[in-house]
Every structure is written in structure tokens, then in C-alpha cells.
Amino acid sequence: MNRSKWRNLKRELWSSKLGVAAVILLILFTLGAVFAFLAPNDPNVMNVAERLQSPNGSHWFGTDDYGRDYFARAMYGGRVSLMVGFASMILATGIGTCIGVLSGYFGGRLDNLLMRLLEIFLSIPSFLVLLLLSVYLKPSVGNIIVIIAFLMWMNIARVVRAETMTLKEREYVLYAKASGQGAWGIIWKHIVPNLVPVIIVGATNNVASAIMMESSLSFLGFGVQPPNATWGSMLNNAQGFIAQAPYLAIFPGVLILLTVLSFNVLGDILRVGLEPRLTKR
């Protein structure tokens, strides 16, 4: 990745109001998640006397049906949601990049095999798999991350494979080959660094879809263990109280919306900034 690309990216970002807003929001949410322990109230302490209080001075987001402080729960919930998003993105990107590079660089039978594998994965209806696995595996944050990553690596693998195929025909790669460098050395020195832009763009979009998947799963009641919460599981609970306490549904929903929105906006800006070639098409 060279300097001109960075400059390009910076310009692209600062010229977009949405982009700036997205970055600020994401920084805010991340800080909120990291410093969740600074929340004025304990997220898990129940107080039946303070059940379902509307937002007020001492409970900024009100309280839930156990009388727990909703603001603190939203902060801790965000911690899990964001962590699941990032962790499954990293895992998926890792798997996808490896398979994509191997497939694209070596080609031939290996490529064929890996691509068939990929197609099988794409042919299994993903949400059904998600439901199945999450029911059957012991629910924990770790397992959810693995499951989501398991379902997301295919897109990155495809893009990386295509990019690798064009990269390996570049002159400097051909030169390196001719000068007797080993395949792994070439991949590591010449291919991977040039894949970074595609990977970053794919990864950003993956965070968005991972957070979305996690929230849908939690909403259906599969997910993290009580008393912990994620934004999705908070929504699941909120549905039952929508008539008397609509704020229970509004806060986590808006938080998911803003987070996913920010990642999507950022993904697009990165794409334009890092891969001008793609957008010209």
C-alpha cells in the first residue's frame, strides 16, 4: 500500500460528511464499550422496585423489566456486540485470505478443490446453518464468533482469489519467480501486501454483517448467556414490553442501526479511496 492511496483515502473521507460522522460514532461506541465499567450503575443488579422506569436522571435509558439500568446494559451489550463483530471479522478474513491466496496463486487442482468447497458452503442456506449450530453448540461468545466467521469467509476468499490471480501475472512477481524465489516468499513479500486494500474493504463490510447476524441470532433467543446481554438480546426482551415501554426497543435498535450504518458507510469510502480501479468500472 503506497502513500498516494492513503492520501486518496484521507481526501475521500474528509470530503464526505457521512464518513466523518461514521468515524466519530464508531470511536464513541468503541470507547463506550471499552470503558463500560465506568457506567454509573451495575448492569446486572436487579431491583424489582424500579422495574420498567422510563428514561430519567439516574437511569438515562430507563430500566428494564428486572429493574436493571438500561444504559449500563447497553454499554456492556455493545461491548459484546462489537467484540463479536470484530473477532468474527478477523477470523473470517484470516480464513478467507488464506484460502483465496492459495487458490489464486497455485491454481489447478487445489484451486478447483477449494472453489468446490466454497460453493458447497455457499449452497447451504446460511441462516439455517446459523440456527442449527447455535442450538447445538454450547452457547458462548466464542462459539458465536466461530459460527459467524464460518459463514462469512467465502466472500473474502472469492475477492482475494481474483485479486491474487491478477497479481501473480504482474511483472515483479514474474521476475521474482524467475530469480528463483520460493512460492511462499513471493506470496508473503509480493502478493499479500498488495492484497491489503481489498482485504480492508471486505473486512469492514464483514464487521457490519457480523454485527447484524449476531443481533438476529440473539433476537431469536440463541446467543450469549444471561445475565449478560447484547443489543440483539435486549431487543428480543424488549419486544414483549413494546406497548408499555417502547424505549426498551428503541435504544438498542438505534445503536445497532448506527453501528452497522457507520461500518457500511466506511466500507464504501474505503472502497473508493483504496480501489479507485473498482469504482471506475
Binding site: 454450547k138 452457547p139 433467543g221 448467556q225 444471561p226 419486544q239 406497548a243 408499555q244
Partner: protein, 533 residues
């Protein structure tokens, strides 16, 4: 084909009008809440009207020989009349006219009412009762109730005396047989006679019963509709039809209830205030004869839960009243439980040992046994179980035991807890409805019995249950079961929480609830009595 045509019309219509309708439609008659103001006191029940009851799943099978799930049982209660029912020890006869037991509890004679008919007009006679019993006993027919008709490993025998009389011969003295027979509902012989496999028979899709309502229509995932059976022996039902509407998602069902799309539905204590708040429903808590308890897995790989001191420590750490408030919000919905027998069971006594409210003692006992961590599994999405687990977590933390809550899906939970071999969990919330005869509970508490999920074992208790099953003298029987209750409580085999009540929300526009009798599991004993005010 008709369906697809309808759909293509629907699709076109949607495309054309979705927007218009979304913006323009105004007053639809989906608001029964507006009518409640006009409701007046009515003296005599009126005829006509429809009723919509919410149920949580599709019925598994509308055939009483195979129905074990709540929804099928509920619908079957209206489709198929029982022989008789027992409420608080009082017998009400339905198809039966009388049931008499011989002195030695070896022979029971059942007399049917005369002039009974099935929904298709065929007479209902002793033949049907005998057929029903025999098809349950027939191993090839796969009824899951076969075990109920086996006493001491031998089948009971049903014999037709005349068209209205059936004689049951027991292989040994069986004072608890009435409790078996009460669960039995005759199925029509003329329909199922030549079916090789009754369970898989397509005839179950259009059931022919004998109850107040006959089958009209079933749309999977949507509803089951029954319509009035004019020849019902208990008098013509008031309502024209009853619809059981399938609402799998509790939250969605609650919204539909508030929105007037359901007239009757179960409500959890947590949701009760919301429903009460609408002003359109009467909330009716009633006892289901159900015990809710904390199950302690004595097979746990912690290796110490088979010591009664540790189980007692759990009790000492908790406060039953607080626990009930945490789980059921109001003591109105749950009576504190001490005994494993529910209050509607014969010989129930709540005057047994309890271990409550002694944190210091709990701490000491847990420390002695070296318990620092317990795993509590709950069914995901079950708010009551979750509340109980959260409360236990909070209380045990105070005595130095960390509780790890694992909320897992129902199917996984069932095989973990009820599969009988898991050693990787310590506590869970369980419940049972076993009926009014204490003999039924032996399956739960005798050594290595099939439903003894906590793997509790006490030779004395085994012996008491065995004696109780064959004891014809009521006083002596009572003595045996009282002892059993005391022993199980002393051993802290389970932590009984409460005899819970089920809350049913009934739309205020409907009357006759009293006469229809609220009944465990099936909501109403006799729906023919419900009417629209």
C-alpha cells in the same frame, strides 16, 4: 391449485394496493377494546359467537391415544369427551355414568351414558372403550401411554359386558387405577378399526370425536377451527365455533392479545401487568397441580451433590419467599412449596422439613464440601427460569459459590436434563404435573426409575412407594405417603419452589368461565359452557 390461484391474485393485489392501503386504511374492526364499554350484565347465556384461543405450537396429533403435548391435549379436550374428570377429589362424569371398584381394587366396572354418539352420528358404546384400551396396549400401535396400563409388568384387561358396560380386570390390587382411567379418552372404533398404524393414519387429519365441538379445519402454522356439535350429551354448546390460533412466539402472542386478535391465552406473571393494563381481560390464576422446583443433579461430576448436606446448603442459602417474588412477581401466582406432592394430590402435606434462610450455615456446609462453583442450566427464552437462575446466582454469590448460568435451547436442555446421563450440569429448573394419585410420583423418586432425573436414591423411600401402590386401605396408604414426603424433604432431594398457578387471560366479553371449569394443561374442562355476553 386453488391456493396458487388465490395467491397470484393476492400478489397482484398487493403490488397494486400496498401503498394505498398502507396510507389510506382507517378504521378496521380489529379493535374489540372499543366494544367493552357497551358490555352489559346478561342473565342467561346467549348462543352464537366465536372464540379464539392462543396456543403455543402446532398440535402434534389430534388423537388422544398419542397426544402428550399441551396443545394437542387442549384441542382434544374439546374434540373428545373424557369418561370422567376429577377436580379437588370430586368426580364429574362425562361419557361415563358410573365407575365402581370392587372391595379388593381388583375389578372396576364402568357404565356409559346411554344414547351417546360420535360426531359422525355413529353410536358410542362399550366397544369403543375396549378398542381404545386394546389399541394402547398393542405394542405395534406405539402409544406412549402403554406403560400406564401395565400394572406390575402385566397389562390390565378390558371386557365388554353389554353395550354400556365395561369391566376392567387388574393383574393385582390397583387402588390408583382411577387416576389412570381419568386420562383415558375413547377413540372411535369404527374409524380406526382396520388401520395398521393408527399413529400415522391420515384419519387423524379429520378427527371424529365425541366432545362439544367437532373438527372443521386445520391450517398448519395458523389455526385449528372446531364447530359446535349439536348432539353433545352435555347440552348444545353456546358458541358457534372455537379456533385455536397458533402463536409460537410469546412476544407476538402477547401483542396479539393486547390487540384483540386473541380472546384467551396463557400469560406469564411477568406479562400479567401489561395485559391487566389493557382493561379488556380478566386474569385468572388457577392451580395446575404443578410443582416448580430446582432439580439437583446427583450424578454431577462435582461428586458432592449426592450428599444431602450440600443439597440442604442450597436451601439454606435461599429465601423461598424472595425467590417466588423474583420468579413469579407476586405470591398470588405461586404458593410456597415444601412437599414434592402437590396440594391437589391425595395425602399431601406441606408440614415437612425445610432448609431456609441461613446464609452462615449454607456457607459453612458449602465450604466443608468444597463447593465453589455450580452450573445452572435454563431453557433459553424462558423468563421464569431465567429469573430463578439469576436470583440463585445472586444469593449463592453471598455464600461464596459462583453460579454459571447456561441458557440453552429447549431440545438440547431436554436431552441434557431428561436424558439421564449428563454429568456436566448441577442445577436446573424443572416442574411436573403428575395427577392426583401419589403413586404416579414413584417414577420421579424411586431409585433408577425412568423419570428420576435427579438420580435420587433412598431405599426407604423406594419401599414406601412400593407398599403404597398396593395398599387398598386409605388410612394406611396415607401413612405411607406422609412418611415418604417427610423423607424426601429431609434428604432435600429437590428444592421445591412453589405450587405454581397458571394465569389465563380471558376476554371480558366472554362468560361461563366458572361453569366451564379451569383445568390444568387443557385450560377448560368443558368449553360448551363458555358464551359470548
Amino acid at each position: 391449485m386453488v391456493m396458487s390461484k388465490k395467491w397470484s391474485t393476492a400478489i397482484i393485489l398487493v403490488l397494486l394496493t400496498a401503498l394505498i392501503t398502507a396510507c389510506g386504511s382507517s378504521s378496521n374492526k380489529t379493535t374489540p377494546s372499543d366494544n367493552s364499554g357497551q358490555q352489559t350484565e346478561t342473565s342467561a347465556p346467549k348462543d352464537g359467537g366465536n372464540l379464539i384461543i392462543g396456543v403455543g405450537a402446532d398440535p402434534v396429533i389430534l388423537n388422544p391415544n398419542y397426544a402428550g403435548d399441551r396443545v394437542s391435549l387442549t384441542i382434544d379436550q374439546s374434540l373428545y369427551a373424557p369418561l370422567f374428570q376429577v377436580n379437588n377429589g370430586k368426580k364429574t362424569y362425562y361419557l361415563a355414568d358410573s365407575l365402581t371398584a370392587s372391595e379388593d381394587s381388583m375389578t372396576y366396572t364402568l357404565k356409559l351414558k346411554s344414547g351417546l354418539t360420535w360426531h359422525d352420528g355413529q353410536p358410542l358404546t362399550a366397544d369403543d372403550v375396549v378398542f381404545t384400551i386394546n389399541s394402547i396396549l398393542d405394542e405395534k400401535q406405539n402409544s406412549m401411554f402403554r406403560g400406564n396400563l401395565m400394572i406390575g409388568g402385566k397389562p390390565i384387561e378390558a371386557k365388554k359386558i353389554d353395550d354400556l358396560t365395561v369391566e376392567f380386570k387388574m393383574p393385582q390390587a390397583a387402588p390408583a387405577f382411577e387416576a389412570t382411567l381419568v386420562q383415558l379418552t375413547p377413540i372411535p372404533k369404527h374409524i380406526f378399526e382396520n388401520e395398521a398404524n393408527i399413529e400415522k393414519s391420515t384419519k387423524n387429519n379429520t378427527p371424529v370425536g365425541s366432545g362439544p365441538f367437532k373438527f372443521k379445519e386445520y391450517k398448519t402454522g395458523e389455526y385449528v377451527t372446531l364447530e359446535r356439535f349439536d348432539n353433545y350429551f352435555g347440552g348444545k354448546p353456546h358458541l358457534d365455533s372455537v379456533t385455536y390460533r397458533i402463536a409460537k412466539d410469546t412476544n407476538a402472542a402477547n401483542l396479539a392479545l393486547q390487540n384483540g386478535e386473541l380472546n384467551i391465552n396463557y400469560v406469564s406473571p411477568q406479562d400479567a401487568p401489561t395485559i391487566q393494563g389493557t382493561g379488556n381481560f380478566d386474569l385468572m390464576p388457577y392451580s395446575e397441580g404443578r410443582l416448580s422446583y430446582i432439580l439437583i443433579n446427583e450424578k454431577s461430576d462435582l461428586g458432592v451433590l449426592n450428599k444431602k448436606e450440600v443439597r440442604q446448603a442450597l436451601g439454606y442459602a435461599l429465601n423461598r419467599e424472595e425467590l417466588i417474588t423474583a420468579a413469579y412477581l407476586s405470591p398470588e401466582y405461586a404458593d410456597p412449596a415444601h412437599s414434592f406432592l402437590t396440594p391437589d394430590t391425595l395425602f399431601h402435606t406441606n408440614d415437612v422439613a425445610t432448609f431456609d434462610n441461613d446464609a452462615a450455615k449454607a456457607k459453612e456446609l458449602f465450604q466443608q464440601a468444597g463447593v465453589t462453583k455450580l452450573r445452572f442450566v435454563v431453557k433459553s427464552g424462558d423468563k421464569t427460569q431465567e429469573s430463578i437462575a439469576l436470583y440463585v446466582q445472586q444469593k449463592l454469590k453471598e455464600v461464596g459459590v459462583a453460579v454459571e448460568i447456561q441458557s440453552i435451547d429447549a431440545s438440547a436442555l431436554n436431552s441434557k436434563v431428561y436424558g439421564g446421563t449428563s454429568t456436566d450440569f448441577d442445577l436446573t429448573v424443572a416442574g411436573y404435573i403428575m395427577g392426583f394419585d401419589p403413586d404416579a410420583y414413584s417414577i420421579l423418586f424411586t431409585t433408577d426409575n425412568s423419570s428420576n432425573y435427579s438420580h435420587y436414591s433412598n431405599k426407604q423411600v423406594d419401599e414406601l412407594f412400593q407398599k403404597g401402590a398396593g395398599e387398598a386401605d386409605a388410612a394406611k396408604r396415607g401413612e405411607l405417603y406422609t412418611q415418604a414426603q417427610q423423607l424426601v424433604a429431609e434428604d432435600a432431594a429437590i428444592y421445591p419452589i412453589a405450587y405454581t398457578k397458571t394465569i389465563v387471560a380471558v376476554d371480558k366479553r366472554y362468560g361461563g368461565v366458572e361453569e366451564a371449569v379451569l383445568k390444568p394443561v387443557v385450560i377448560f374442562e368443558d368449553l360448551s359452557k363458555i358464551y359470548l355476553k
